[in-house]
Structures are given as structure tokens and as C-alpha cells.
């Protein structure tokens, strides 16, 4: 190839455009300079292409370029103003509706002579009230969370005792244990299903179950030796296989306090 080409050259090769009306790339910097010039001239409606051209003083910039850009800029400004007005109207209405519906009943729209906007003091009052309500809700949620965690720990201790009693008891007490477990399982599944719907109601149901099962064999059994938590006892010759994948107490209740580990209890016939 010819010398003086691209080889070993990493700069820019450019040529002058032959177009009598060359297309102008309005870069951010160029547009900023244009806006400055328009602002100095008193806004898009007062500025003329000639005056902008004189003020910008850029080589290669022509009236042809400025006429179209100024026109677009004017249209853009008009559209922006209209959008702002519409947005103001919408936001004002929605704010008033919100305050009337869910906050203090005396918060109402007052049309001022100037702009007809809600006074600042009233708006602040509304905001404070909303914050108070939110704080109250947070307190209630915290209390519920604590109660759910306590119930979870309680359930875990029940399961541990059940595991121990099953491993220690002979085949004689299998039927009694099975009945207890069935009842326990149904209450637990009920607890899991309804947790999301109404946490308070769930707590009452589980409490009922606890009070009912307090006198059962799970609690009256004396445990002779400690069992490993993760042990999975199998009853030889019996009909129950009990699988307990017990985790730490925090795993019982999820972040929302609504779901429990599916592997927690699974009892089935062999």
C-alpha cells in the first residue's frame, strides 16, 4: 500500500464536507453554549438566530443551523411548560385526595387567591400524622415478630422432646405417639397455612394446641440420656419412620415470620 496511509497512524483522518448546508452535531457542550446565549438574550422568545450567532461567535456555525435549533428549542420549552403545569395540577389533586381520605378529616383543599395551594403548616401537620401512624404500625409489627419467634422456639423444644421420647419408648407406646404426632402435624400445617393471612389468629390457634398438648407424653417423659439433634430415629419392626432435620432456632421463622422450614416435620408410614 501507499505511504502516507493508515499504516502506523493512530490519529484522526477527516475531510471538509461539501454540503452547502452541512449537518451540525449538537454536542452537549455546543448546546450549553447555545442555551447560555439564548438566556443572555432574554429567553427563546426574545432571542433571534442572528443575535445568537453573534453572541456564540463560533466558526462554521451558520444561521441555517441556528434557525432550526432555536425553533426546536422553543417548541421544547413550550412542551416542558405544559407538562409542568399538568404535573402540578395532578400532584395537587392527588395530594388533597390522599389527605382527605386517609389523614385528618379536617384537612381540606383551600383555594388561595394566589395559587390555591395547601398551606405549608397544614401539609407539615399531615406529614407528622402519617409518620406517627407508620411508627405505630412498626411497633405492632415488632411485637408480632417477637411473638412469632417465641412460638418458634417453643415448637422446637416440643419437637426435640418428641424425638427423644420416640427414641426411648418401645413399640408399646407407638400408637399413642402416632396419635400425638398426627394432632401435632395437623396443628403445625394449619399454623403454616394461616400465618400469612392473619398472624394474630395463628398465634391463638397454636396457643390452644400448646395448652392441649401440655399434659401429653411428650412433656411427662423423663429423658435418661441426651440425644444428638440431627439424629433420625427408626423404629425397628414398627410402622413409623420419623425424619427431623432440625436447624437452629432462627431458621424456624423466616424473615417475614410467615414461612417455616418444610423439612421441619415429616412423618409417614413405611
Amino acid at each position: 500500500m501507499e505511504g502516507g496511509g493508515r499504516e502506523g497512524y493512530n490519529g484522526v483522518i477527516m475531510t471538509m464536507t461539501r454540503d452547502p448546508k452541512p449537518r451540525l452535531r449538537w454536542t452537549a457542550d455546543l448546546h450549553d453554549r447555545f442555551v447560555d446565549a439564548v438566556t443572555k438574550l432574554g429567553g427563546p422568545d426574545k432571542a433571534t438566530p442572528k443575535s445568537v450567532l453573534r453572541l456564540m461567535g463560533l466558526k462554521g456555525l451558520t444561521l441555517y443551523h441556528l434557525k432550526s435549533h432555536l425553533q426546536k428549542y422553543r417548541l421544547g420549552q413550550q412542551a416542558q411548560k405544559q407538562n409542568e403545569e399538568v404535573h402540578k395540577e395532578n400532584s395537587r389533586c392527588s395530594y388533597v385526595n390522599f389527605s382527605n381520605r386517609s389523614l385528618a378529616p379536617n384537612t381540606s383543599y383551600r383555594g388561595d387567591d394566589e395559587g390555591g395551594e395547601i398551606p405549608i403548616a397544614e401539609a407539615l401537620r399531615c406529614q407528622i400524622e402519617v409518620q406517627k401512624r407508620l411508627e405505630e404500625q412498626l411497633k405492632v409489627q415488632k411485637k408480632l415478630q417477637m411473638r412469632i419467634e417465641a412460638q418458634g422456639k417453643y415448637l422446637q423444644s416440643v419437637l426435640e422432646k418428641a424425638q427423644r421420647s420416640l427414641s426411648l419408648d418401645g413399640p408399646g407406646s407407638l400408637e399413642a405417639s402416632r396419635a400425638e404426632l398426627t394432632e401435632f402435624n395437623s396443628a403445625l400445617s394449619n399454623f403454616m397455612e394461616n400465618m400469612n393471612k392473619d398472624s394474630k389468629q395463628n398465634i391463638i390457634e397454636v396457643n390452644n394446641f400448646y395448652s392441649k398438648s401440655h399434659g401429653s407424653a411428650f412433656y411427662n417423659q423423663e429423658v435418661g440420656r441426651e440425644q444428638n439433634r440431627d439424629q433420625k430415629p427408626k423404629v425397628e419392626g414398627g410402622s413409623i419412620q420419623f425424619d427431623l432435620n432440625i436447624k437452629g432456632s432462627n431458621d424456624l421463622v423466616s424473615a417475614g415470620g410467615a414461612e417455616m422450614d418444610a423439612n421441619m416435620v415429616s412423618s409417614y408410614r413405611v
Binding site: 505511504g3 502516507g4 496511509g5 497512524y9 484522526v12 483522518i13 477527516m14 475531510t15 452541512p22
Partner: protein, 207 residues
């Protein structure tokens, strides 16, 4: 016997940029005339560099070259211009027929520190005159352009140069396996300009 002292003229960066950009304007006019890109009657005679030079009277070309030299001068002052190429192409096919290549070396110290250099105007003028004579005599060895032609000017600049809005990025418009003839160079002590013309090989040259 009286000793004759050669007057040394101070050359500044701006002065050198003006000399070089003006040279490009006259060189372009001379190439366009001698290579018959525009008809003879559209040129007018002026005296420059101690030679009769021809300048175009075509308004479009005049405006184009005026804008070109103004921009080149700006880049020369900034030390950003590396090469200027005048390309002659076939009007019908846009095939590149000739490339007039002007390579520029800039004294970086002058650009960075703003120092000046010394060289007499007469000496610079003599060097430019030699190039102009060579351009005029190039018709003796360059193949005849027997079809309507157009021209374009390419500017090779540094990577960090922003493309002005009357310019567009371009390919180098090279000639495959060209014949090349090196012409004289001139030096202002700030900018050194080397001239080279490359042209398309004629088929009978290869046989």
C-alpha cells in the same frame, strides 16, 4: 571588503502557521490548475513567491479553500496537524487517481514553551518557490487525466482533536500499488513540510 550579513527574521508559531497554511492554499490552486481539474478560464494570474501563480475564481472552490486554510492554520498553531492530502478522484467512479501528500513535522518545544525560531523570509520563499515549480512541471511525468475529476482534501490530525462540525471523519483514500515521486520540502524552523505525489500506475508502465 564589506562583509554582508544575512538578515535573520524571527519566526513565531503563529507566523509559521500562517506561512504553511497560505502555502497549502496556493499549492492546492496550482495543482487544480495544472492537473486540469477545473477549466483554465476559471483561474486568474497573481504574483506570489516570485512566480506567476494561478488562483481559482470559482466561488465554491474559493470558499472551500478559504475555510480549509483557516482550519489548517488553527491546527498548525496547536501543533495538531500531521499531514494534509489533496486527493484527485474520478467524478464518475470516485476512483482515486492522484494523492498530493504534504507531511508536517512540528517543533514541539515551540508549541509547548512558546519560544520562537530564526529564519529569513527569503530563504523560506525560495524553498516554497522550488516546490511550486515542481508542481507546475509535474505534468511532464504524471498520467493524463482525460476524464472529469473532482478533488478532496484530507487532514491527518492527532487523536485528541475534536472533529469540527464542518468536517467529517474519512478513510485515507489510498491508491493500490502507486507510483510515487518525492518533491522538495520547505522548513520554517517550526514546521517542516515534505511533499510527495503518488499516482495510479498506467498499464503500459507495467509491461
Amino acid at each position: 571588503m564589506a562583509s554582508r550579513t544575512v538578515a535573520k527574521d524571527i519566526i513565531t508559531l503563529r507566523g509559521s502557521a500562517a506561512i504553511v497554511s497560505e502555502f497549502f492554499g496556493y499549492a492546492a490552486n496550482s495543482i487544480l490548475y495544472n492537473r486540469g481539474v477545473y477549466p483554465e478560464e476559471s483561474f486568474v494570474k497573481v504574483k506570489k513567491y516570485g512566480l506567476p501563480m494561478l488562483l481559482t475564481e470559482d466561488e465554491g472552490v474559493k470558499t472551500f479553500l478559504a475555510n480549509l486554510t483557516a482550519q489548517l492554520s488553527e491546527w498548525l498553531e496547536a501543533g495538531k496537524l500531521q499531514r494534509v492530502v489533496l486527493v484527485i478522484m474520478s467524478k464518475a467512479t470516485s476512483e482515486v487517481l492522484e494523492r498530493w501528500n504534504f507531511s508536517i513535522e512540528t517543533d514541539c518545544e515551540v508549541v509547548e514553551k512558546g519560544v520562537s525560531r530564526e529564519k529569513s523570509d527569503k530563504e523560506i520563499m525560495r524553498e516554497i518557490q522550488a516546490i511550486m515549480r515542481q508542481i507546475a512541471s509535474s505534468i511532464t511525468y504524471l498520467p493524463c487525466l482525460d476524464e472529469p475529476c473532482i478533488f478532496d482534501v484530507l487532514a491527518y490530525t492527532d487523536k485528541d482533536v475534536a472533529v469540527p462540525f464542518t468536517w467529517v471523519e474519512s478513510d485515507p483514500k489510498l491508491i493500490a500499488n502507486p507510483q510515487m515521486v518525492k518533491l522538495h520540502s520547505f522548513d520554517t524552523k517550526i514546521h517542516k513540510v515534505d511533499t510527495l505525489v503518488s499516482y495510479k500506475n498506467d498499464e503500459w508502465d507495467e509491461q
